[in-house]
C-alpha cells in the first residue's frame, strides 16, 4: 500500500526544487496525467520518453540472464537539461515519473 499523501507531497516538493523545469507523470499509454510543464511540451515529452523507457527496459531485461532484472532509473543528460525518468511498473499499472531539470541552475 503506497501512501498516496506521501507521494503527493514528494511530488510537490520535487516541483518546488531549484532548477526543476517541470514534472510529468505519464501513464502506460504515454499520456501525461499530471504535469507542470506546458501541455503541448508535456505531451511531446511523454510520448517520446515512454518509447525510450520501453526500449531501455527491454534492453535491461534481455541482458539479464534470468530475466529478473528490471529498469529502475534512466537519466538522460543533454547540454541544457537533464531528463530523469523513474518508471514504476506495477502489476497492472505502468506509470512513469519524469522530471526535467537544469543542473547548472544558479
Amino acid at each position: 500500500m503506497v501512501d498516496v499523501a506521501a507521494v503527493e507531497e514528494t511530488v510537490k516538493r520535487l516541483a518546488s526544487h531549484k532548477g526543476v523545469v517541470g514534472i510529468a507523470i505519464v501513464n502506460g499509454d504515454g499520456v501525461p496525467i499530471r504535469t507542470t510543464l506546458d501541455p503541448e511540451l508535456a505531451t511531446q515529452y511523454a510520448a517520446l520518453v515512454s518509447q525510450l523507457v520501453l526500449k531501455a527496459r527491454f534492453m535491461v531485461r534481455e541482458l539479464a540472464a534470468d530475466g529478473a532484472d528490471d529498469l529502475q532509473f534512466l537519466r538522460v543528460r543533454s547540454k541544457r537539461h537533464e531528463i530523469m525518468i523513474a518508471p514504476g511498473f506495477d502489476r497492472d499499472h505502468t506509470y512513469t515519473l519524469l522530471v526535467v531539470q537544469e543542473p547548472q541552475a544558479e
Binding site: 498516496v4 506521501a6 507521494v7 501541455p39 517520446l48 518509447q51 529502475q72 523513474a86 506509470y95 515519473l97
Partner: protein, 798 residues
Amino acid sequence: MPLLRKASDGASASRARSPAKGAGPASPAARPASSKGGVGGKVGGEAGRKAPTPVPALAQHDTAPAADDYAVPIREVVRPPGQLQLSAAELEEEVGRSLTAGNPSAPASLVRYSYKDRAFRPEPIIDQQLQHFALGGSLMHRDSDEAARERHRRESSALLAHSRRVTAASRRVTAAHGGGEAGSSGQVRPSEAGGTLRAEASVGPAAGEGEGAARLHNQFNCADRGAQTGHRRPRDRGTMTEPPPTTTASGSCSRWEIYEAYVADQDRQRQTEELARQKAQAARREARSAQQTAAVGQQPGRAAGAAGALALPGDEEQDGGVSLAPLSGQAAKLMERMVQQNMYCDRVMDFKYWDDPADAVKPDEGTLMPLWEFTNERAKSRAVTAIAWSPRYFDMFAVGYGSFDFLKPTTGLVAVYSLKNPGHPEFSFSTAAGVMCLDFHPEHPALLAVGCYDGHIAIFDVRMGGGEPLYRSTPRSGKHADPVWQVAWQRTAGHELQLASISTDGRVTLWTVSRNELMHQALMELCSLRGRDDSPSGSTAEPADSSRPATGASSGSGSGRAAGQDVGGEAAAGIAGGCCFDFNRDQETLFVVGAEDGSLYKCSTAYASEYLQAYRPGHQLPVYAVRWNGLHSRTFLSAGADWKVKLWDSLQPKPVLSFDLGAPVGDVAWAPQSSTVFAAATDRGHVHVFDLAHSRAGAACVQKASKARLTKLAFNSRHPVLLVGTERGGVLCLKLSPNLRRCFNPGACPDVGDSRAVARTDSQRASARATEAARLEAVLAAAAKCNAALGEEDMALL
C-alpha cells in the same frame, strides 16, 4: 327642598376644584375620584337646570301687568255687547252646575269581542283619566323611602370624606393643601351625592353600596400609583422566512429495471475503455509521426502541435491524488534524491573527491570542509539534542530535536535523514516531550531508542515512517523522574532486546523489551561521593549552569543533599544525577558514568551498589559526554561544562591528558577509524579535532562551524565526515581534510553493512585493531612519563 339646591352647588364646586386637584403635587389616587366627582357634578347640574323652570314662570305672571307703576288699579266693568240681561231674581236664582270627572272624548260604550263567549260584550270600565300636564321633579318627600335612602347615602359619603382626610394627613401633605381639602370637603360631599343619585336611579341601592365599599378599598390600596411609573411597552418583532423547499419524491423499482441499468452501465464502461484505447493509439501514432518528422529533419513544430492538440485525459484537479496511487513511493523518493544530487552536485563531488591542497603545505594543520546542511522546517526553533548514525546504512542518521533550555520546553522530533537527500528527512517521528538522546540497535538497525525530556523511553521502528512508538515506558513501569540523558542498546546473547538509560534522577536503568511492554530493572543507583573526603575541588561550590538548566534544576536538590551529607559527615550518599554514560566495547558489563557534579564513575552492571572506581575530581562542572575509545579498551574521554576535555586511563585515578577548549564542551567523540583522533564541539560554535599521534599539546584543527552553539557531534564510521548539531536545529556535515585522517585505518572499524564493502577477515581486523591500540598505548605512555615529571600542583591543574 334643600337637597336639590345643594346638589347644584356641589356640581359647580366640584368642577372648580378638580383642576386644582389635578395640578396638585402628587395625588394620583385623587384623580379618578375627582374626575368621578366631575361626572357626578355634571349630572347634578342637569338636574338643577331642570328644576328651576317652574319658578321663573310664576315670576313672569306676577310682574307682567306692572306697566303703570305707583297707580291705584282702577276697576272697570266691561261687558260684552251680547251679554244677557238678567233680572235680579234671575240673578239670585241658583243654577246647579256640577263638574264630573269624565273624559268627554272617551267612548261612552265600548264593546269588545269576547272569544270566550263568542259575542261582543260591553266593556265595563272605561278609562276616564286624561293627563293635561306632567312635570318631572327632583323633589322627594321627607318621609318617603327614597329620602331615607338618600340620607343613608349621605352619611356613608361623609364617612368616606373623613377617611380620605385621615389618609391625606398620614401622607404628610402640606398644611395649606390639607386645609384646602378640609374646606372643600363639605362641597365634595354633594357631588358624590349627585353621582350616587344617578347610580342609584339606574342600578339600585345594593349596587350603590357596593360601589362605595369598592372605593374605600381603592383608596387604601393605592394600586393606582403604579400608573405614573414609566413602563415598558411590550414589543414584538418577528420575521418571516421562506420555508425550505420541500419536494416529495417517490418511485418504484423493479428487478428488471435494476438489471437493465446494470447492463447499460456495463455498455457505457466498455465504450469508454475503447475510446481511451483509441486515444492512446492515436497519441502513439502521432508521437511516432512526430519522431519521424524530426528524424527527417522537417519542421517538427506542426507535429508537436498536433500532439499537443490532443487534450489531456484529465484536469489536474480532477484526478488529483487518485491517479498517483499506483505511482510507487519508491520512484518518487528516488527521483527526489536524483534531483538533490543534481542540485548539490558540487558537494557530492567534494564529499567523494575533494582534498584540501593546503594540507600538503601545512603538515600540522587540517581543515574541515563544510558539505551539506540538513534543515527541517519543523525543527527551526528546536535544538539538536542527539545525533546517531545508522549501523547499517553509512549515509543514514537520525537527529533528535528538543530543548536544553528548562524555560523553553518544546515537543520532540526525531528526523531520519540520508546524506543523499539533505532537503527532506526520510522519516520523522514526533514525541510529546523534547528528545534528549537516540540510539540505533546495532543488530536491528530499524529499532531506534529515544529518551525524552519528561523521562520517557520510547522505541520506534524507523521503517514505519512516523506514528506511534512500538514501546513506551509508562509512569507505572519505572519511568525516569528526570530527563533521560543517554540511552544505549545492550549487546545480548539471546534474542531479547535490552537497553540502558541514565537520568539525572540518579538511576541507571536496564530496560528489557518483552512482548508488549518495557520491563525495567535498576542497574545502579548513583550516589554522590562528594563529602566523603574533602578534596579541594570537591568542596568548591558548584556554580549554577545556565546552559543546561535541567541539570541545574535537579542539581539544586543534589547539592542540597550533598551539603547535608557534609554536616553529617556520613558516607551515606545523596543522589548523583547522571548526565552521560558509555559502555566499554570489549567488556560489555563495564561502563563509565559522568555525573552532574563533575565526578566520573567506573561501574559494572554486575555490581549495582558499588563503583569500581571513582575519578574525582573529574570535572568541576557537569560532565556532558564520556566516550570509551573503540579501539583501546582502557581509555576514555570526558567533556564537561568546565571547558575541559580529559583523556583518562581507566586504571589511573587522574587524567592522562587535559585540554582546555575555552568554552563549554557540548560533546566529544572518537573517530571510529583511528584510536588517536577525536573531535569536540563547543558552545562557541567551534569544532576541535585532535590527533594525539601527532600532537598531544593541542588541536590539529579548530574551526568555527556555526554561529550557533554546537550541541552534538558524531563521526561517520566509513567516510571521513562528521556531523555537528547546533542549538538552532541545524545539522552540518563536515569533511576532514587529509591531515586529520592520516592515522585513519579503515580496517579497524566494524563494517557497516554494505555489500560493496570489502569483506575483511577477522584476523585482518584484529591486526588493524592491534596496531591502533598500540599507537594509543604509545601516546599514553609518553603522556604518563610527562605527568610523572609534573609536580603535585601541576597535576591538580590538569
